[in-house]
């Protein structure tokens, strides 16, 4: 079995953006990114695209972790993602964690939340469908 690591869980894009694994919760990785110029949109706020990138990577990292636990290592392909922006991303460290709603043979459905200070007040959420081949 391949052990989950920063390298197996995070693609070049995620590492380049500054995303890292903050810890493991209920067996799934919590990802984090610090505020900085490379994630800034409107001055002083996260860019919606950077927030989406964090959510999406948290989804892939969670799915990859769950698949490795089952001894599976398929290529993951995006089917779709819907991102809901709930409040402005302030210039603070941001976290994201996915929940695997359904893990099938060919596709998986995930919900992901991103938060800053308060876990109970997410700044964005996403629903993703991922194809496994």
């Amino acid at each position: 079995m391949v052990e989950p690591s920063q390298e197996t869980l995070l693609p070049a894009y995620a590492r380049s953006l500054g995303i890292s694994v903050d810890g493991i919760e209920n067996g799934l990785p919590v990802l984090t990114v610090d505020f900085g110029a490379n994630v800034e949109g409107r001055p002083g706020f996260f860019h919606g695209g950077a927030t989406a990138g964090l959510l999406e990577n948290a989804g892939y990292a969670a799915l990859r972790t769950a698949l490795l636990d089952e001894g599976r290592d398929p290529v993951l392909k995006p089917i779709n993602i819907t991102v809901q922006y709930l409040s402005a991303g302030k210039p603070k460290t941001t976290y994201a964690l996915a929940r695997i709603t359904r893990l099938g043979r060919r596709n998986a459905n995930l919900t992901v939340e991103a938060w800053q200070d308060e876990r109970e007040r997410p700044i964005a959420s996403a629903v993703m469908n991922i194809l496994m081949t």
């Binding site: 110029a37 919606g48 950077a50 290529v75 995006p78 779709n80 993602i81 819907t82």
Partner: protein
């Protein structure tokens, strides 16, 4: 916090929004600058941006294809700019909801273009749709649909910011 509404004297004094000119400033800094986004083309109610291929933006290590995350950023940015292009006013907007359906991976080492049209605006919201493609608009990489809110519009109290 109160920001000027679209009818304030200050925004009236500004020239109409032009995506080509605004791009010079938008893509110099921040997340779009880091990604290397560029202005490509625009019309009355649409904007097309380019995201050049770059090795450190790859997704799956087993292919040389751009990750889907940068494509969301590209479409989000093109969406905002299409709204300003249509309304001619650079009013602060925030993304409420953005959906991306991926039809196929972008070609290896190919730039991805994001073309988004703002098809409807109301006092408080703006609706957009578009495609991401790698050269041929009729063979898209992804379709997007989104809703944005103008953050200086509060339906309860006209002109007061609530963003």
């Amino acid at each position: 916090m109160s920001e000027p509404s679209s009818s304030s004297p200050r925004s009236k004094a500004l020239p109409p929004f032009n995506a080509a000119e605004a791009g010079i400033f938008f893509f110099r800094r921040g997340h779009p600058g880091w990604l290397g986004m560029r202005y490509h083309d625009h019309g009355e109610d649409w904007v097309q941006l380019e995201l050049p291929w770059r090795e450190d933006l790859l997704g799956d290590p087993r292919s040389n294809v751009l990750a889907s995350g940068p494509i969301i950023s590209l479409m989000d940015m093109a969406s905002g700019m299409s709204i300003w292009q249509k309304t001619t006013v650079f009013t602060p907007v925030v993304t409420l909801d953005l959906r991306v359906d991926y039809q196929r991976p972008a070609r290896e080492r190919a730039s991805v273009f994001g073309r988004v049209e703002c098809y409807r605006t109301t006092k408080s919201a703006a609706f957009v749709r578009g495609v991401a493609h790698d050269g041929d608009r009729d063979d898209p990489v992804a379709h997007v649909a989104g809703v944005f809110m103008k953050i200086n519009y509060d339906p309860r109290q006209k002109g007061i910011a609530n963003g």
